[in-house]
């Protein structure tokens, strides 16, 4: 980035950090902090603050492009190595990200954020509240300021969970290792007498009831919803592609999934028509119900990492200028990142836009052409931070 772009952003960020009251995480004295200065390549790590005031003056002096803190608490948070820090426990973190969302290739940033928000809502309501039973006030929700949402579980019960125990939670949320035999149970419906003893002769595979707890109910509900989708659209199963079903399988499904068979699933709750149909519905129901956009490096979700650095709430994201902002659970539905995470003014600034672009921010649609023009400050910051424009 050119020097004057950096200067431009830094000035705005500095103003924010001067005027805004940064909220600090609970037990911040036991956390590691890390900052990425503007224009730097290396992160400054292993910092700790025992007083709020020293943190405030530090961040005002440095004006970082990115600010992070550890989800873990340490005995000595500023020790240079992990072993010397002495781990005491860590929050449970969920990080959903547009980059990990399946089937979101080629859609716009705004659209993508909407999809992630929907997944995030599912995670919070259906998994964290309903299944895991966390209480609302132990879940802190944030927009990441970039391409996703974070949820921090601050219930002391989870602090000591090891990495592999956290993995078990991730496997639950992603529906990994679901067992077909647990889901579709065999029920004997007829018995015949063989040499004086009653032996099962006819049995059926039943789909789980929608009201059952855990994944059984989830798959049961998913199955019924899928069936409705298939039947309501005049047996049009083309759109099932979105559940990761390929062409060949759709063709086969068209052949095998007859009206009678569908009725039998919907009315009798029996799913022993063909292994193919069963596998299809299972796969699609999991796709529909599981959380798939969990972020992490090399496929390892952030959740399992017990020493992870995450964005500091109410700091600014250096690649967008948006605020990492807290969202109350009841307000998640109406949350609009491109309105509610904006902290800069609408004072006009002149920028040189690199390529034409459409975007909606602060409930206003912008249709930008290539070249010099005047835009509100918040948009200018966004464009410059994302390197889509230069300041003049």
């Amino acid at each position: 980035m050119e020097d004057n772009s950096i200067l431009f952003l830094k000035k705005r960020f500095a103003r924010y950090y001067r005027n805004e009251k940064i909220e600090l995480p609970e037990r911040f004295g036991k956390r590691e902090f890390a900052f990425m200065p503007f224009g730097a390549k290396m992160m400054r790590r292993h910092l700790a603050f025992s007083k709020r005031s020293s943190f405030i003056s530090f961040i005002q002096r440095m004006t970082p492009a990115h600010a992070y803190y550890s989800s873990a608490f340490y005995q000595k948070p500023d020790a240079p190595t992990m072993d010397e820090k002495e781990w005491m426990g860590a929050e449970l973190i969920f990080d959903l990200d547009l980059d990990h969302l399946k089937g979101a290739e080629g859609i716009s940033y705004e659209e993508g954020l909407k999809l992630v928000k929907e997944e995030f809502r599912k995670l919070v309501e259906e998994f964290l509240l309903d299944d895991f039973g966390f209480s609302k006030n132990k879940l802190l929700l944030y927009f990441s300021g970039g391409r996703g949402y974070h949820c921090h579980v601050v219930d002391p019960k989870v602090f000591k969970l090891s990495s592999s125990e956290r993995r078990e939670i991730v496997d639950y949320i992603t529906g990994a290792d679901l067992d077909e035999e647990t889901l579709f149970r065999k029920r004997v419906v007829e018995k015949t007498k063989v040499k004086g003893r009653m032996l099962p002769s006819v049995s059926r595979l039943e789909i789980p009831r929608p009201s059952e707890p855990g994944w059984r109910g989830r798959v049961g509900r998913g199955l019924i919803a899928l069936l409705k989708e298939v039947t309501s659209e005049g047996n049009n199963i083309e759109h099932l592609k979105r559940y990761g079903i390929n062409r060949k399988d759709i063709e086969r499904l068209k052949k095998e999934l007859t009206k009678e068979r569908m009725l039998r699933i919907a009315e009798d709750g029996v799913i022993d028509q063909s292994p193919f149909i069963r596998r299809f519905f299972l796969k699609a129901a999991i796709q529909k119900a599981a959380i798939s956009s969990m972020a992490g490096e090399t496929d390892e979700p952030v959740t399992c990492d017990i020493k992870r650095l995450i964005r500091l709430p109410s700091s600014l994201h250096g690649k967008t200028g948006f605020k990492v902002c807290r969202i109350k659970i009841d307000e998640l539905e109406g949350f609009e990142p491109l309105r509610d995470a904006i902290v800069f003014s609408d004072e006009k600034v002149e920028v040189d836009v690199a390529a034409p672009l459409k975007i909606r921010m602060m409930e206003e649609s912008f249709n930008l052409r290539k070249g010099k023009q005047r835009v509100p400050e918040y948009l200018a910051v966004f464009l410059v931070a994302r390197r889509m424009a230069k300041v003049i």
């Binding site: 190595t81 992990m82 072993d83 309903d130 299944d131 895991f132 039973g133 966390f134 019960k157 989870v158 969970l161 090891s162 990495s163 592999s164 125990e165 993995r167 078990e168 939670i169 496997d171 639950y172 529906g175 990994a176 290792d177 679901l178 067992d179 647990t182 059952e212 707890p213 855990g214 994944w215 059984r216 490096e297 090399t298 390892e300 399992c304 990492d305 017990i306």
Partner: protein, 341 residues
Amino acid sequence: MRDLKTLARYPFLSEAKEYVKTLNVSVDELLLDLTYEKARIFGVERVENAVQKKNVGERRLLSEADYLAEILSYPVARMIVVCVDDAYFLRKYALGESVHAYLNLRNESADFLAAVGGDIGLSVKVDGDRLYVHFIDYIRYAPTRYRDWKMVNRPLKNGYIVVSRRDFARLLQECLRRRIVEELEERSCSETVQDAFPEELGRFRNMAAMQRKRFEAQPVGRISVTKLPPCMKDILASMQAGENIPHMGRFAFVAFLNALGVNSGEILKLFSTAPDYDEERTRYQVEHVTGRISSTKYAPPGCEKMRTYGLCPRDKMDDICKRVKNPVVYYRLKSKEMRKK
């Protein structure tokens, strides 16, 4: 108070401990006095059975005096194990005690199980015959490396999982095992025990040493232990110590060996020394990773991933570690270097 018979069956209960206190038997008396000879014989048998049969075993108890001896044999066995002073041996003993408890607990009522849980630190809510375990306790104690134990295949609602009495007994087993390991690791050997069981202690120490030797001398397939990277050495060492390796550690280890051409059978042999070895299920897991029963063959995790999982011992990293991104490459490089020399 519960009857003596019950306490004899579950001598780890605090009630059993309380009862022993009321008897006013000193440690010296227990270890030396003729009156308690039977308790000592039973105690030695507990240890022996635990190490050889993975279960401290049942003894024929015919009278009140027998029940008492059985209750007292528990502290005797613990004192002996502490004096053997071997981490692997200790873990085998703890497993033997907890398996014994499990086999009996399977047949107990839900209320009884809940009371045992409350005593050893695993709380549970009871509703008729159903037991509700909080999911945090569940993932801590359940053998989630097996598919049917994975939380995803259990009915979880509002933070609680309903389990059967039998499954709850299995959770109690693991809870008890860890508790015994933790308790005994903190104790140190007293001289009286040393004097009371000179012959037995010698024998047990020999057994422990032999186990260890057999393990160390055995190359893993064609793999030589000296060329293993620090991370894999650590996992192997924990296995030798009879520790339960978390899922990711097992996975990494199997995938690593598999990538170096060790076959499933040889890998299985290695796991067979683990204290909770279960042939059939371990085979399933191993073959799952090596691609024999699943369509995917899993790639061994790289150093970055190992670090994420806390499986890379940073303090033991050496020069070769700094040059590689995957433990498998470490092994190959090390082999090359050793050949050069």
